[in-house]
Symmetry: C2
Subunit: 250 residues, 2 copies
């Protein structure tokens, strides 16, 4: 099976690297930007082009969300299987009479870091079972967390990631505002934060809950509200404590 990867950003780089490490041959890496393309092609020793897209059985389009539609039009082979790597686009965004699919790795990629690909979850969607199986097998060569999931499910995957990553980061930002206001170095809290995350690798988050709200310690909750002078911090404080009390029926 001939595989072509389209793109020269972080996802394209890491996917190509993961394939190479597992001995999966990539026929070509194709991208418009010759500089970043060249760097990847040379490092991984893959044929590359920024002008002539090679014939292939599988094209993986690893470009930014707003470029997927346009890039897919370059593929004229009607017998090909074409997959994009976006979490938030339906496979129908792909434009052409080829078979459409999604091959979505759930991870924030940054080019410099080396990643443990085994752990990166892949979410697969295709038009028929044969293509689904093929993409699943391919993903399983890289990762041991592979799951078939349609567009509807991918939306909830994205929502879960928003709660557990984007929102968590915002809490860190608000927490740092509080520690900054008292000249307490925020890095003092990193060991505790690391421990909080380490815990949920082995425990249900629901069973790992600590703090004044889950103890229903009204006097501390009251005192904390008096300490907070920022409106947004206070809204978060009240909303999350209410949510904790509801979850544990306090």
């Amino acid at each position: 099976m001939k595989i072509v990867i389209i793109g020269s950003g972080n996802v394209a780089y890491h996917l190509s690297k993961a394939f190479c490490e597992k001995g999966i041959e990539i026929s070509q890496i194709f991208a418009r930007n010759p500089t970043s393309l060249q760097a990847i092609a040379e490092e991984l020793n893959i044929p590359s082009s920024s002008t002539d897209l090679a014939e292939a059985d599988l094209y993986i389009i690893a470009v930014s969300d707003d470029a997927v539609h346009k890039v897919s039009k370059l593929i004229t082979n009607e017998n090909a299987l074409v997959a994009h790597t976006s979490g938030s686009l339906p496979k129908e965004i792909l434009s052409g009479s080829f078979r459409k699919a999604s091959f979505y790795p759930l991870q924030t990629f940054s080019k410099t870091k080396s990643l443990n690909y085994d752990e990166i979850p892949f979410f697969i969607e295709a038009e028929n079972l044969a293509d689904e199986n093929l993409l699943q097998l391919l993903a399983e060569k890289i990762s041991h967390n592979v799951m078939v999931s349609n567009y509807e499910k991918r939306k909830y995957i994205h929502l879960t990631a928003v709660f557990s990553c984007n929102f968590v980061n915002h809490l860190f930002a608000r927490a740092k505002e509080i520690s900054d206001s008292q000249d307490i170095p925020f890095h003092y809290f990193l060991p505790l934060i690391d421990e909080t995350v380490k815990k949920i690798h082995t425990m249900e988050p629901k069973n790992a809950q600590t703090g004044p709200a889950v103890r229903n310690d009204q006097s501390i909750l009251q005192r904390h509200e008096e300490l907070i002078h920022d409106e947004e911090q206070l809204k978060i404080y009240k909303t999350i404590n209410e949510s904790i009390k509801k979850m544990y029926e306090l």
Copy 2:
């Protein structure tokens, strides 16, 4: 200087262990519970008693918050310095005519795990500069994150920990509700969560923010709100997105 540690719980154990590892002699470990006391005393080879409290220059009371006051009454030596290890109690909770202090390690201790004491922040408070210096030097033998901080400041330390640990864990619990509802294994999100936390070791959380709210992507925010059917999840979703928009003036 003669040091006595009072308590046989996790904090008492880890403090004693950290002192021993750094060659700081403990004259006695004292606790009411002979079983757990014996285990610590034997492992660390420290003299122990559950009946006769030894004379010492420094007593460190590492017992649960509601026992600190009562336990402090056992100390009759007026020339001693007595410190408790609680983050949420003032040093005045200690009852006696000795010098009072607080020696607070910010960490969730669990007995079985081995901890990297170097990283655990210590917050110190005493009645006078000499005692403060003494406790600071002592803490610095164990950790490189030591800070003098009064009771007022400790309250904000606790509040910061609530935002960055207790609340973060609750977001994990709510995120898991969402992934569970779609039969998506929550452990698929752990690599992304780990990465989120790894990032703030080297970046300001405010600069590490990603996701639809900070991009002010109204169409995704709108679609997400339609996906959420739980009232508490929706309140959190709206509150944190509003807070993100306010922080970045969107």
